[in-house]
């Protein structure tokens, strides 16, 4: 399957704990310190729209968004450029980077104890209607690569469920870990 553009999102446990604008200085700081992977370009602010991509750290390869468009507030990592390797590896790598950003946000001084991500129930979005349409066939075609990637994140077991059947929407998969997961840091440790 030729899928290069996709998103991984981890939801915040308490979406109202911090004001969306407070992510702006953090993302600018990340650019100053080159704190996350990618060629970091700029910060975009859509905080004036309540159900939107919120605040984005735009990089050449991917965007890190504090997003409220795809469900409640959470960290959405949106891969944009083609990279080599097998799809399952590309997906696993995206989970690794997304989890790394979640851990980093949880540890930012201004968010300590207030920003926490739900580790056991991320979503995966195929951002490519041409190659992966939002159909049952599209879901099944994706399933093996997605499962192979997720086996590295949730080795004990997990469930996959297609969220919406609207053919206009992007194929979005709810991932649910069967066993309880402690936190995003422990998941990251599995992938590092």
């Amino acid at each position: 399957m030729d899928l290069h553009k996709f998103c991984v999102k981890y939801f915040a446990e308490n979406p109202s704990a911090v004001e969306i604008g407070s992510f702006i200085p953090v993302f600018h700081r990340w650019i100053q310190k080159q704190a996350v992977e990618g060629l970091l370009v700029d910060v975009a602010d859509y905080g004036h729209l309540p159900q939107s991509p919120g605040v984005l750290l735009v990089s050449h390869e991917a965007d890190y968004c504090m997003d409220a468009m795809e469900g409640p507030l959470g960290l959405l990592y949106n891969r944009k450029t083609s990279i080599g390797g097998r799809l399952s590896d590309r997906i696993a790598d995206a989970f690794r980077v997304a989890l790394g950003a979640c851990v980093k946000l949880e540890n930012e001084p201004e968010f300590l104890g207030r920003v926490k991500f739900r580790a056991g129930s991320p979503i995966f979005i195929a951002n490519d209607r041409l190659n992966v349409p939002n159909t049952e066939e599209g879901f099944q075609a994706l399933r093996s690569d997605l499962s192979a990637a997720l086996a590295k994140v949730y080795p004990s077991n997990f469930e996959l469920r297609r969220i919406s059947t609207d053919p206009r929407a992007r194929l979005t998969v709810q991932v649910t870990s069967i066993d309880p997961v402690r936190d995003v840091a422990s998941l990251l440790a599995r992938l590092s």
Binding site: I31, L39, G47, Q51, N127, L130
Partner: protein, 738 residues
């Protein structure tokens, strides 16, 4: 298996658009192979609406230092100093703002897959997507083309999106529906051989009536206002209008142009503009400069002569046989609202966002889009709402909103409920909270201050007071531009702002010039002038102070514009003067960064002196004096003494030039010496040049000194004052480089 959109869409893309996109795709490949010059490629992509975006030169100040953005394509560029991989802005033409649900869905898909999930409505009824990679544009174009949208000639030296009154066809005061004419004009001129050799862009607007703002005809290269004479349809035809750095009111070319002459006259005008318009100096290349240079009479003579020479074209009048092609059919029968349950907040929303159509029982509902933005998900939901209540018709507005037309009044409560469900049920359309803003420093290469940051801040503050706000204040219009170029249309607001910067010691501070006196009604009937530059962080205080004073001092029936005129700009300036003071950096560091951008507002690698925040150089004093003189010129203009106002405007430029010269030499000498020294030390060396406008502002000075107006008219002095202010702004920018 299908692997490209080209294969998948096949013949759903109209052949002419398909060919056009294929050509562009090939040009991308050729540029990557180094077989097309970067300048040529830049104009090529601009003509497809693919713009550059901020930081696309590969440099960005992170607030501490300037970082180099090392894109993977290395030195490959898509234009001079524009890196290949740098994200760009895609402008998408939506003629007269008319959209269908299918088109909206295609736009939403493209926003998600190629952009950041946001659709932005511009002040000329376009849609813009940001952070788009150049190599994804052909697929994006194909997907839009399959729904009848083209990005062709959305930018570049072409006929830009043809705009039109969003109420056309349902308006209670229109003379007739201008929609089919706007559509025919857009179609006829798109890719026309006579519109391919302009020195600059060309903007056309249609308006159904003269009194309302409608299409803002007076600020366009061609403004066509519907008119009926002896039972025959035609247009009051205006030419040479424009905003930009120095705005120009359009002039009446023909008090009645018969409908069958609309397209041939536009063609003839295009030919004259292409032949005689400036090509080398883009700063004087808009049609307004040609009209001013030739004089309206001579310009008219040339165009009419050109018209006579044109060979007949059936396309000129073919569309007139089927003017009803753009008529819209209501989905539901007209029904009154009477007695139906109303959700909470409905009455307030209805008061500001609903317009009763000329067709009884139907209404236009405005969807207020904060800062002109909506998400891809909201776009899809809006398409569903359109199908549910009105069928097809939607329009984008120059106030960056979206309209549903032909809503049966009985459906208004349910429609409101559906909009609220998707976060778009905010009231306040067309009021003080419905602030227009260009992209500014968020994404525009030319932005000086954060127009969207300021607009967002004002919107939040004002919305919280909306309920208790006096009606006279609620109805005011605020428009914000990030720089002098007026994409936010600051000249035609009650309160207009455009971004500038000022020095405080070795720090640079974001500011906005405050403009008053502009007029939205009467198709952008008057342009405001700047009265004072205020630090960005104090602009909310400006709004509060001005609106409070207006409420306190206005006379019965007096609107904001009339109040400003009565009290005079000197009093307005005096009212705001104390707000211009900049606190020390230690005292209030927030003044040294912009709204919703915590980075230190500076050129990145500027050092901080021992006395930072306290040093005022003689040059700073001198430039302040020049500003005062320019303002006095404005007051004199207001008093009707055009001769003296012109002299003062020229003198203010001379003062600014002298102060710059004095920063390089011990003595400046008299006027001829100042001009000579300024030319030598600042113009010839390009030290005074703006990175994008080049030497334009210096040329204002040279022109004013070398050709002082002999019998200055109000219009000419208005322009001169505007040029003086821009020259002084450029002197401030130059001072940053010294």
């Amino acid at each position: 298996m299908t692997s490209t959109w080209k294969e998948k869409l096949g013949d759903r893309v109209p052949p002419d658009l398909a060919r056009e996109i294929e050509i562009f795709e090939n040009e991308i490949a050729l540029r990557k192979a180094g077989k097309i010059d970067e300048k040529v490629f830049a104009e090529t992509r601009l003509r497809r609406g693919a713009y550059g975006q901020r930081y696309d030169n590969g440099q960005r100040s992170d607030g501490l230092k300037t970082q180099t953005l090392a894109y993977p394509s290395g030195e490959l560029t898509k234009g001079p100093t524009t890196m290949w991989d740098a994200p760009g802005m895609q402008r998408i033409k939506i003629p007269y703002g008319g959209l269908t649900p299918v088109q909206l869905e295609a736009l939403a898909d493209c926003a998600e897959e190629y952009s950041d999930g946001i659709l932005h409505v511009t002040t000329r009824q376009d849609i813009q997507l940001h952070y788009v990679h150049i190599e994804e544009t052909p697929s994006l174009f194909r997907r839009l083309a399959a729904t009848g949208i083209t990005t062709r000639e959305a930018c570049g030296n072409t006929v830009r999106n043809v705009t039109g009154c969003p109420l056309a066809g349902v308006c209670r005061t229109e003379t007739f529906d201008v929609t089919p004419y706007a559509k025919a004009c857009a179609k006829f001129l798109l890719g026309h051989k006579d519109t391919q050799n302009f020195g600059r862009k060309f903007k056309i607007a249609f308006s159904g009536c003269a009194e309302q703002a409608c299409g803002l005809a007076m600020m366009h290269d061609i403004g066509a206002v519907a008119k009926v004479k002896n039972g025959k349809r035609g247009f009051e035809f205006y030419v040479g209008g424009g905003l930009g750095s120095v705005p120009n009111q359009a002039k009446l070319f023909d008090e009645f142009l018969p409908e069958e002459e609309l397209l041939p006259m536009a063609q003839a005008m295009s030919r004259v503009f292409a032949r005689l318009g400036e090509k080398k100096n883009r700063n004087t290349a808009r049609l307004k400069f040609l009209v001013n240079k030739l004089g309206l009479e001579e310009f008219r003579r040339l165009v009419i002569e050109e018209r006579k020479s044109l060979a007949d074209d059936p396309a000129w009048t073919a569309y007139l046989r089927n003017l009803h092609v753009t008529d819209e059919k209501a989905l539901k029968p007209a029904a009154a609202l009477n007695g139906r349950p109303k959700p909470e907040g409905f009455d307030e929303w209805r008061r500001t966002n609903v317009y009763a159509q000329s067709q009884a029982g139907y209404a236009v509902a405005t969807v207020t889009l904060p800062l002109g933005d909506f998400t891809a998900r909201q776009a899809r939901a809006l398409a569903d709402i359109a199908r549910k209540y009105v069928g097809e018709p939607m329009r984008l507005t120059v106030e960056q909103n979206l309209l549903f037309r032909w809503v049966s009044e009985a459906d208004l409560p349910a429609l409101f409920g559906d909009l609220r469900e998707i976060g778009l049920g905010e009231p306040g359309a067309g009021t003080i909270v419905d602030i227009t803003a260009c992209p500014g420093t968020d994404t525009c290469k030319l932005g000086i201050s954060s127009s969207r940051g300021l607009a967002g801040e004002l919107r939040t503050r004002l919305a919280s007071r909306m309920v208790s706000m006096d009606e006279a204040v609620r109805g005011l219009k605020i428009k914000v531009s990030g720089c002098f170029n007026s994409c936010g249309q600051h000249h035609i607001a009650d309160l207009g702002f455009y971004g500038v910067s000022r020095k405080k010691g070795s720090w640079t501070v974001p500011h906005f010039q405050v403009l008053v006196g502009g007029q939205w009604d009467h198709n952008a009937g008057a342009y405001g002038l700047a009265v004072i530059a205020i630090p960005s962080k104090r602009i909310p205080d400006v709004v509060d102070r001005m609106t409070e004073a207006f409420l306190r001092e206005r006379q019965k029936g007096e609107n904001f514009q009339a109040w400003i005129k009565r009290i005079g700009k000197a009093k307005v300036r005096a009212m705001l003067e104390d707000l211009a003071a900049i606190p020390g950096h230690d005292e209030n560091p927030s003044f040294f960064s912009d709204w919703r951008d915590p980075r230190e507002y500076s050129t990145g690698d500027m050092g901080i002196g021992e006395c930072a925040g306290e040093v005022v150089s003689p040059l700073d004093f001198g430039l302040a004096a020049a500003e005062r003189e320019a303002f006095e010129a404005q007051l004199t203009l207001e008093a009707g003494d055009f001769r003296r106002a012109a002299d003062q405007a020229v003198s203010s430029m001379m003062t600014a030039a002298k102060e710059l010269v004095l920063s390089k030499t011990a003595a400046a000498g008299g006027a001829p010496e100042i001009v000579r020294e300024f030319r030598e030390k600042f113009f010839d060396t390009k030290l005074f040049w703006d990175p994008f406008a080049g030497g334009k502002f210096a040329q204002y000075f040279f022109h004013a000194v070398e050709n002082p107006p002999q019998n200055p008219t109000s219009d000419a002095v208005h322009r001169l004052v505007e040029e003086a202010q821009l020259f002084i702004e450029a002197a401030h920018s130059c001072r940053l480089k010294l």
